[in-house]
């Protein structure tokens, strides 16, 4: 494994050099830090009312500062490489000198990027503050495509996660992280696709070969955005309710995102049973992607919507072909036939638009078939449910009915897969997550995770859908629910009690 050790040592040294450069830049910028933050925060507030005229002045100011920064960077670059060129023909020393010159240039450009970030954020910071995590995640992806040690280190870290989630083999990770041809190909493709206004300064830096500047600009932007979240929350008291709710939601999401990011993956390696984790990682050499399209015949989406169990699929086919089961299930469960029909359509019959990986196309597909669900349905039809099955069926019916009603009202069913973590994070805002919370009697620990704007829009549907299946909540069940759920349940119960009794058959 000597060659691996060499690569690891090289990567480690490169990473240390990069972080040293970052520390240097951070130190240089620290005195100006407060000013920069204040200025950016002011810019956030001012940006809302910014006139085109003011934008023009700011743009011109940005360009002037950027031009100055580039002049300094170029001088350093020429100077460093000029010195290196004097020993270019000396074996070993020439290579080392060129590498050192690259590092000097990189560090200077990094600092230049910090200044450049401060100037160009004036116009775009408002949007970035409202969508900080998307931006931070985007910046991480971008940083992976910075040619040189920074990009290599980040790609390697990302690759380790892909390995852990079964989405890449060890060979793939090494190739993508350290093969210069693969690196160049992927970097060129990435930067060719960059089109947003927010990222255009980075693209320009890439095109001009100022790779360190990309890293520095990114470091500044991330730091500023993190402080910007708090400012956005404070601004909520001044009336920016919608924006703050979104920022707050994203900040909350960040907890999940952070928990499954590279740093925590590294912590797993430190804290978990070494042999077991090593054993697990060793077993993860997928020839087949875990989150890309499979060969199941389902449209796109891969593992999250793929067929898993042929026997379960066959059982679902049988349920779909059975027109008489709705009446029997309704009779045996004492639930209204229209509710049973809705559940059957949602769970077994209908295709849904199912999100797959964030940023990739959704799949149009039925739900994956689950044998336990088919078994519960058949037992309900046959009237042979055990006590445990009855409890499970009521949970399933509640979930599917709430989810169907939320989907009918336009809510996405599933959260997209976080491409870095390789998992669907819990955000408590898709129909599936909300239905799961309803199914769990609105457990306050889960209910509190629902973003306020989602709660205000969909709480009634959640409670109504639950009561369709479970009827009026018992006082004991109500006691454990959050007050606003209790109030909503009481209101719905009053409304339903006031409605004329519907005759059998569902005709009003």
């Amino acid at each position: 494994m000597g060659w691996l050790d060499s690569i690891a040592d090289g990567a480690s040294a490169a990473w240390n050099a990069t972080t040293d450069a970052a520390s240097s830049a951070a130190s240089a910028a620290s005195d100006a830090g407060s000013w920069i933050a204040d200025t950016a925060v002011d810019a956030y507030h001012a940006g809302v009312d910014l006139s085109h005229t003011a934008s023009g002045y700011i743009k011109r100011g940005e360009e002037a500062v950027t031009d100055g920064v580039h002049w300094i960077e170029d001088e350093v670059d020429h100077g460093a490489h000029g010195l290196a060129s004097r020993v270019a023909d000396v074996p070993v020393l020439g290579t080392l000198a060129e590498g050192a010159a690259d590092a000097v240039t990189f560090a200077t450009q990094f600092e230049g990027g910090v200044v450049g970030g401060a100037t160009s954020l004036l116009g775009g910071v408002a949007n970035a503050v409202v969508h900080p995590i998307d931006t931070v995640r985007g910046l991480e992806t971008m940083a992976e495509h910075v040619p040189g040690p920074l990009g290599q280190s980040l790609r390697f870290g990302h690759g380790l996660i892909d390995m852990a989630t079964g989405d890449a083999s060890f060979g793939d990770v090494m190739d993508r992280s350290f093969n210069p041809l693969t690196e160049a190909k992927e970097d060129t493709k990435y930067w060719g696709n960059v089109g947003s206004a927010l990222l255009s300064p980075y693209k320009k830096s890439f095109q001009e070969g100022r790779y360190g500047e990309i890293a520095g600009r990114g470091a500044f932007d991330i730091g500023l955005l993190l402080s910007g979240v708090g400012e956005a929350e404070a601004a909520g008291t001044a009336g920016k309710v919608g924006e703050v709710a979104e920022a707050s939601r994203i900040a909350e999401t960040a907890d999940v995102a952070r928990a499954i990011d590279t740093a925590d993956a590294a912590r797993v390696a430190e804290t978990a049973d070494g042999a077991r984790v090593a054993e697990t990682a060793d077993g993860l050499r997928p020839a087949e992607s875990g989150i890309t399209d499979g060969a199941s015949g389902h449209a796109g989406g891969g593992a999250f919507v793929d067929s898993i169990d042929p026997a379960a699929e066959a059982a679902y086919d049988g349920i779909r072909a059975n027109p008489g089961d709705v009446a029997k299930v309704a009779e045996n469960t004492k639930l209204p036939p229209e509710v049973i029909q809705r559940i059957k359509d949602h769970l077994f019959n209908n295709e849904h638009t199912l999100t797959t990986v964030e940023g990739e196309a959704a799949a149009q597909s039925r739900f994956v078939a689950i044998q336990d669900y088919a078994d519960l349905w058949k037992s309900a039809e046959g009237g042979t449910l055990s006590a445990e099955q009855t409890e499970q069926l009521m949970n399933l019916m509640t979930h599917e009915n709430v989810e169907a009603r939320l989907a009918e009202s336009g809510l996405n069913i599933l959260e997209p897969v976080d491409p870095v973590a390789g998992m669907r994070p819990f955000r408590a805002q898709g129909a599936h997550d909300l239905a799961s919370i309803a199914e769990r009697n609105f457990d306050p620990r889960l209910f509190d995770r629902i973003p306020p704007e989602v709660r205000s829009q969909y709480l009634r549907t959640m409670v109504e859908g639950t009561m369709d299946v479970r009827g009026t909540f018992s006082p004991e069940a109500l006691k454990s629910m959050p007050p606003e759920v209790q109030e909503m349940a009481a209101q719905i119960a009053r409304e339903r009690a006031a409605m004329p009794v519907r005759p059998p058959g569902g005709t009003p």
């Binding site: 989630t165 079964g166 984790v277 993860l284 060969a295 593992a303 898993i308 042929p310 669907r424 599936h432």
Partner: protein
């Protein structure tokens, strides 16, 4: 005896009580799948965590007496959980049955402890996580939420 130890460990579990997400939970799930290799049919690219082929393999060597004992222990676990106000997911209940079956098999000498798929599951449960298998994927539940993993591919462990 392994069975008694496992029962003791399971009684100490507080189901889904982990205060926050821990990526180690995913590592335990993957370690469980890795140990399923001997029973994973080549013609099944993916297996649900409680697939019937796993169940059949786990229960294959059990006597009627074993099955009755396992059912009784499981019922005692769920009764205790209910009394504590804990909800135990359906997939977790099934996995616990497998865990008890593998412990019985280990005691009977028909399963090498080193190949026992239950070891990572016991760690997962003891850390306050539980498994739920839904249309979204394999959910790893903790006290305030869950994250959902894709159903692992057999090729990942070849």
């Amino acid at each position: 005896m392994r069975f008694e130890d496992v029962v003791t460990r399971l009684h100490a579990v507080r189901w889904g009580s982990a205060a926050e997400w821990n990526p180690e939970a995913l590592a335990w799930l993957l370690a469980y799948y890795q140990r399923l290799a001997p029973v994973w049919p080549p013609d099944r690219p993916r297996l649900s965590p409680t697939d019937r082929v796993i169940e059949d393999a786990a229960l294959a060597t059990l006597t009627d007496e074993d099955r009755a004992r396992i059912a009784a222990e499981a019922e005692a676990l769920w009764t205790a959980a209910r009394e504590r106000g804990e909800r135990v997911e359906a997939a977790t209940r099934k996995l616990v049955t497998f865990v008890l079956a593998w412990a019985r098999a280990a005691d009977a000498g028909t399963l090498d402890v080193a190949d026992d798929p239950s070891a990572p599951l016991l760690d997962l449960f003891a850390a306050g996580f539980q498994v739920n298998y839904t249309t979204a994927g394999i959910e790893l539940h903790y006290a305030t939420g869950w994250n959902t993993a894709p159903v692992p591919a057999r090729a990942s462990f070849a």
